[in-house]
Symmetry: C2
Subunit: 274 residues, 2 copies
């Protein structure tokens, strides 16, 4: 095999790391892949670290210990994240997006791969230190952003269903009160999906009253799972007090006091907090 | 700004290309990003092309014309793709995955970011030349793999719903016959989701009789959209004749004639075809 030059190794390593975020790769893995010495690989990693920093791609974390190595965490710096979300808010604030009943048309934004990838990176950035074992979402609209958050965190996605399905096997069903309509709804999750003692990050597209989110928290309690955080694409300004607390939403929507039913969508303040 | 060296540029370019597959970047974009001359960037791209080829990452396509530039297409070579799917089949063929009623538990596989990313790359590889404008799926289980196929193709994902929802605006509803149960089902898609004259690639998790797939084809006809292909994660061996034709599935499942309800899951033959 021809000797692989540094510039080729750098490109290939970038591909390896970014394809599987938050996964630990040992130095030996790269030594074998490139037929290079450990000292050479350490130098490569230092250069790569600096490229990731200066181009706003993410960070390379060195993990020590027996299972140690290097892992990549996609990250967006606070200002870039805020600007990105602010531009989306601008796009959502147009009159043509308001539907009958003051609903906002969001579906296109929520299933654009490029947009949900970026949202996933921003949300994941808040929860690396919480070490979730999986991301939980409730079908349907939040699945893409939840998947990309799970991808950035390097963990599986688990999808709760409205009804239990034969192809999910035996399931845990709970009832919850929909925060906005006050009706009793059902939520179901396969017994096989998760293990007791795991840690969940809840990710969904929308939070208004917080009934569905509280349902997911209750569901996790049934599985003996700890909820380490709750993240949403959009929260409504009202009601201010939700059925859950501690959640983070990328955008806040205010439909009250607006003329001509124009939605006021603003980026959340925590995006700029250190 | 300090001069950016080739090995740094190579790593940064790999990140730019892989983050937005099938999107055309002009040479000028990279010249501006790195403060480098066009001739230098052309050399960089030639090296990157070779790295992508030799490490099985994908291809860099040069697009000529006024809107020309270079775009990255993630690709897996035939043998690697077949081996990957064969390993998944092995995992799915265990007895512990068969549920009551001979259903196969697939949900964990279908929402593992790493797995659906790879499946998306394999499926997208079959449809770059068909130039779809979007990927269409029907909620719920196929959403992750459909999203990652859309990501590789650089197009949006569109999700058809079982019922029309207030937050989707005015919608087109159709009825279809479920291929397996023979019952009449409903499928709904927002009028805003797509434009007449566009081209759709249908991606879903499972095909048995093909009723749902035929429903999606009928739905596209209502929107004046051409279906360029249909791709699935899993097809059942029976019925051999589906309500649609021309579909590609990664795996074929045969539950007939097996003892002890062990599923026979095999990689599709087209995976190895040139």
């Amino acid at each position: 095999m021809e000797r692989i030059r540094r510039n080729e190794r750098m490109a290939a390593m970038m591909s390896v790391f970014t394809r599987e975020p938050n996964k630990i790769f040992t130095l030996s893995y790269f030594c074998d892949l490139f037929g290079a010495a450990k000292s050479t690989m350490s130098e490569d990693i230092d250069i790569l670290k600096e490229v990731m920093r200066s181009f706003g791609i993410g960070s390379l974390e060195t993990v020590t210990g027996a299972a140690g190595g290097v892992c990549f965490r996609p990250l967006m710096d606070k200002t870039a994240a805020y600007d990105y979300v602010a531009a989306l808010c601008e796009e959502l604030s147009g009159k043509d997006r308001v539907l009958t009943g003051d609903f906002l048309y969001l579906s296109d934004i929520l299933s654009q791969p490029e947009i949900v990838t970026t949202m996933g990176i921003i949300l994941a950035g808040e929860y690396y230190d919480s070490n979730p074992d999986f991301v939980l979402t409730m079908e349907t609209k939040g699945i893409p952003v939840a998947l990309m958050t799970a991808h950035a965190l390097g963990v599986p996605l688990v999808i709760a269903r409205k009804l239990s399905k034969v192809y999910e096997g035996s399931a845990v069903n709970i009832n919850y009160v929909s925060g906005s309509s006050g009706t009793i709804e059902n939520m179901s999750l396969s017994r096989r999906a998760i293990k007791p003692g795991q840690r969940a990050l809840i990710v969904d597209d929308f939070i208004k009253g917080g009934g569905t989110a509280k349902g997911m928290v209750d569901l996790m309690r049934e599985f003996d799972v700890t909820v380490v955080g709750m993240a949403f694409v959009m929260a409504t300004a009202n009601p201010e007090k939700k059925r859950i607390s501690g959640e983070k939403a990328l955008m806040i929507m205010d439909m009250t006091g607006t003329e001509d039913s124009v939605a006021q969508v603003k980026p959340a303040k925590w995006l700029l907090e250190k």
